[in-house]
């Protein structure tokens, strides 16, 4: 689980062009949207693409994403439970 979380942090920083954020800045429970990291709707779509490409999970409804992408922890939990890759 901790390697998955580490992997997620690295991928998110590169995929979403978060230049001035380091892995250390990204806590497991930092809110990704809203007041924490401040990601936006396009970032959410990129995360959906990430879930599909890297872990074989297809999220058809962007609204479902809101719960899954709350924090690194919630993302990792969801991936563990649903990954096909």
């Amino acid at each position: 689980m901790s390697t998955l979380k580490q992997e997620l942090k690295e991928k998110i920083i590169t995929q979403l062009n978060l230049e001035d954020i380091t892995i250390e800045d990204l806590q497991d429970d930092t809110p990704l949207f809203g007041d924490g990291l401040g990601l936006d709707s396009i970032d959410a779509l990129e995360l959906i693409v990430l879930l599909d490409k890297q872990y074989g999970i297809k999220l058809a409804d962007p609204k479902e994403g809101r719960k899954v992408f709350e924090t690194i922890q919630t993302m990792a939990d969801y991936i563990e439970a649903n990954r096909t890759k």
């Binding site: 936006d40 709707s41 396009i42 779509l45 959906i48 693409v49 962007p62």
Partner: protein, 395 residues
């Protein structure tokens, strides 16, 4: 400030509901849409997408327009030339009479359709390399202007879904400023894997026939089209049949997000406000609103909000994208033509596929074609990048 409205003396259009003006008009009057599964077997387009397709292959356009088969014309250029020719003919323009004429065209796809066909071929063989220079946005306008014989002013506007509305606005301004006597203005966009895949990646491409302003809307269907209208100064249009007048126009930026519209529809609100001011009209004097209405969850909410803010009582409104699909850069011109047809026929065209009102507003579009007295039509075109434009047409 010159407030006189600009005369419109001609129009031309080709879309999924007709290959010319008469066919488009008939389809609207009969509430017959043109949205179907994409007929082309395209390896680049993932699923069978519902699109507003013009069922005519490029070869047929080449022969109808008497074009040299060895010259490179992309689909956007072919559609554009078809519509522009019809517009010029319908306005009875003599392009050699010494009047200053401009051609302002809009596109987002440009020559992408050809690039998608021939890209991998370019490095392998000489055969299709003539399509390399036709990739960019500007060339379709140059080609069309050259064939029609327009030299005084040619330019291309590329501001996403508001492009053609902005082209119309620019033409009107240049006439008011005395730089041109008349202008052929509008836009052209063909279908492409580029745009279909792009909108799908944003998860706003619906797998159903789009239903604008419906609570259960899932997104848009793309379409291809080209449309142009002919704007003329008072002097230039004297003694001519006038189809309508461009009385007002406005453009404003929503300043919110690269592709989403703000919750309070500020950009659209400001564009409509400006258009009304220029037209010297009060909101209650608008008889019909041809909405941008793409049927994405975001647009219809934002546009609905802006309509509620500008109008104490929102007039009859509909989105004709249920007929043609979202034709991107051409949309502003396609819908300008439809607005003029509404004035001609005194009809509000239907907003098809509508069932359930949006939770957030008390807004019901006109779901069936309706006869009423129409003196004024307001048309919205809201583009990515927050570029919001509004045009007002009067009899």
């Amino acid at each position: 400030m010159n407030r006189k409205p600009i005369a419109i003396t001609g129009m031309g259009i080709i879309s999924a509901i007709g290959n010319n003006l008469a066919e488009n008009e008939a389809s609207l009057l009969e509430s017959r849409h043109g949205i179907r599964k994409y007929s082309v077997k395209d390896p680049l387009i993932h699923q069978e997408k519902l699109v507003g397709e013009i069922l005519k292959p490029n070869e047929e356009f080449y022969s109808e327009l008497n074009l040299n088969p060895n010259e490179a014309f992309t689909r956007s250029a072919l559609l554009g030339l078809t519509a522009a020719k019809e517009a010029v003919q319908s306005a009875n323009l003599d392009l050699n009479d010494g009047r200053k004429t401009g051609f302002i065209s809009a596109t987002t796809v440009g020559g992408m359709d050809a690039t998608e066909k021939y890209y991998f071929d370019f490095l392998k063989s000489e055969a299709n390399r003539k399509f390399v220079p036709t990739q960019n946005c500007g060339i379709h306008a140059e080609q069309i202007a050259q064939i029609l014989g327009i030299k005084d002013y040619v330019t291309t506007i590329s501001t996403a879904c508001s492009s053609a509305a902005n082209a119309i606005m620019l033409g009107a301004r240049m006439i008011k400023a005395g730089i041109l006597d008349r202008a052929i203005v509008g836009g052209a966009d063909s279908l492409s894997a580029f745009t279909i895949n792009g909108f799908s990646s944003l998860m706003i491409y619906s797998d159903e026939h789009c239903h604008p302003f419906d609570d259960n809307r899932k997104g848009l269907n793309l379409g291809e089209a080209a449309a142009y209208i002919v704007l003329e100064s008072g002097k230039s249009s004297a003694n001519k049949e006038v189809l309508g007048y461009l009385a007002g126009y406005g453009n404003a930026n929503d300043a919110f997000h690269q592709t989403a519209s703000s919750d309070d529809g500020e950009g659209a609100f400001l564009a409509m406000k400006t258009a009304l001011e220029i037209a010297g009209l009060k909101p209650e004097e608008i008889d019909y609103v041809n909405a941008h209405g793409t049927a994405t969850p975001n647009n219809d909410f934002s546009e609905g909000k802006s309509l509620s803010r500008i109008f104490k009582s929102v007039p009859d409104f509909s989105s004709t994208k249920t007929f043609t699909g979202h034709t991107l850069a051409a949309a502003g011109a396609v819908e300008a033509v439809f607005s003029l047809l509404a004035l001609k026929n005194q009809k509000v065209f239907a907003n098809l596929n509508w069932k359930t009102p949006m939770k957030e507003f008390d807004l019901k579009p006109q779901t069936e074609i309706k006869s009423k007295e129409i003196r004024t039509v307001l048309s919205n075109s809201l583009g990515f990048g927050g570029n919001c434009s509004c045009l007002i047409f009067v009899k």
